[in-house]
Symmetry: C2
Subunit: 295 residues, 2 copies
Amino acid sequence: MRLGIDIGGTKTDAVLVDDAGVVSHRLTRPTPKGPDAVLDAVARVAEDLCAEAGLTPATVASIGLGVPGSVLDGVVSHAQNLGIDRLDMAGALRERWGVTPVVDNDVNAAAVGAWIASGSSERSIALLNLGTGLAAGIILDGRLWRGSRGTAGEIGMLSMDLNGPEGPDGLRGGLETCASGSGISWQAGGEPAASVMARAATDADAAAIQDRMFHAVATAVRVLVLTLDVEEVLIGGGLTRMGPQLIEGARRVMREWERGSRFMSSVDLTARTTMMDPEVPIAAIGAAMRGAGRG
Amino acid sequence: MRLGIDIGGTKTDAVLVDDAGVVSHRLTRPTPKGPDAVLDAVARVAEDLCAEAGLTPATVASIGLGVPGSVLDGVVSHAQNLGIDRLDMAGALRERWGVTPVVDNDVNAAAVGAWIASGSSERSIALLNLGTGLAAGIILDGRLWRGSRGTAGEIGMLSMDLNGPEGPDGLRGGLETCASGSGISWQAGGEPAASVMARAATDADAAAIQDRMFHAVATAVRVLVLTLDVEEVLIGGGLTRMGPQLIEGARRVMREWERGSRFMSSVDLTARTTMMDPEVPIAAIGAAMRGAGRG
C-alpha cells in the first residue's frame, strides 16, 4: 500500500492506494495553520489512516505529500495558505517515522493523479487546477514538466482582457482573478466564490463574474493546448464542485471560437477538455503515486 | 561537413557547418513557387554549395532541411508560402542523391539553431519566431518538444487584447496579427511591415501598430515563460532586422509589468529575453544540426 497526503488550505486529504492508484482507505481532516500545527496534523492523519489498514507510515511501501507552495528537496516555502514560510517537511517526517516521504507541489501532485485517473501511459496532459489560485500541472510524454526554475504552469498571471477586472497584483483580466476561488471572491468584495456562483442565475453582477470565469477557463485551455500541444486538458480543483455547468460554460466559449476560425476548429479544444470528478481525490492519489516514483 | 538548408518563402539559405554548428560555406538564392520548382531549386543550391567545398550531397556527413509547413516523416504539407500542398521532400531528394535528408518544420529548425548558437547543453529555451507568421520552437532539457500532434508553439493564435485589431481569421488582438510580417501588413492595408515600421517615428497610425507589436512580443515571451518556464526566450525571424529597437520596445513593456507586480518582477522576463543576430542563419544551422541528430 502507498500513502498519499494532499495538504490543502482548508483540509488535509489522506489516502492509501495500490500500485495502480486505486484508493482503498481515505481520511479527511481540517488543516490547522502554522508549521508545527500542520506537521503534527499531517503526521496524525497519516498514522490514523495507516492504522485503519493495520499499517504504520514506516511499513507502507512509499509516502508522498502534496503541498500548496514551492518545494525543493523536501523543503516547503511560501505556503501562505498554510501559514508556512519555510519548513523542511521531508526532514521532519523522516525524523518522526524513520522513512523519507516525497514532497511535491500540490498542483504537480494533482496532475499526476489526474493523469493516473485518466489512463496514464506515455501521453501528455495538463491539469488545469481551479482552486484558491489558478495554475497548471504539466505531464509531457508521461513525465512531470517542472520547468527550469520549478515554476512551469503558472498561467494564472496571464491576462485575457486588458480591460478586465484588476486583481490584487494590479493585473487587469488575469486568469487567476477571473477563474479561481480567491479571484472570484476578490471581484465580489470578499463574498465566497460558491455563493457568487449561486447568485449568477438571478443577479447580473454575479452573472458577469461567471461569464468571465467561463471565458478564462476556455482561455487557459487554449494557452495550454496552443503552447504545449498536450493531448488533453483535465480540469480539477475546488471550482469543479460547481458541477457540469463549469465545463459546459467553458465549452460554449470554445465552440464560439471554433465557429469563427478554421484554425481553432482544427485544434478542437472542446473535445480535448475534460472535467475531473470532484469526488476523486486526485491530489492525494497523485501524491501517493509521486511517492511511488511515477510522473 | 554537414549540410543545412532553410527554405523560406522568399529565399533559400544553405550552409555547410562543422559538428559544432560553425558555418564554413553559405549560399542564398530566391525560392521559386510550386513543388517541382522548389525541389529543383533546393537540389541545385545544395549541389552548388557542396561543390564549393569539393563535396556532393552524397558525400557530406548529413543533410537537414527546414520548411515552412507541417512535416511528418519527411513529407511536407500545407506549405502555403511555397505553393506546396503536399510533397514527399525527403523521398524526392533521396531519389536524386541516394541519401536521405532530415526534413523538419522551419521554426523547429530555427529553435535548434538558436539553441546551438546560444550555447546548447541540456537547457530549456524557446525560439520566438517573428517572421511571415508568429510561432515558437521549444527545446526542453536539450530536446525539441513538438507536442502530441506536432503543433506545439502555435501561440500566434492567442489573443492579447479582446479589443485589438481583427486578424484575417476573425480573431481580435491575435499575437500573429500584432507581431508578424503578415499581420503588420494586414493592419496597414497591405503595406509591407518594414515600411510600416519605418513610418512609426513620424506617423501616429504606424506608431500604434508598432506599440501593439512591442506589446505582443512581450506577451508572447510572458506566455512562453509562465507556461513552460524555459530559461530563456530567443527572438528570431525577419522582424529582427528592425534591430535593437524591437527588443528594447518589448523590454519597455516587460519593465512596466515588473514595476507593477512582485510576481512579474520575480519572473524577470527582461533578463530572460534575447534577440538573435539577424545575420546568423539560425534556421539553416539548425536544419544542419537536425540532420546530425541534435535537438
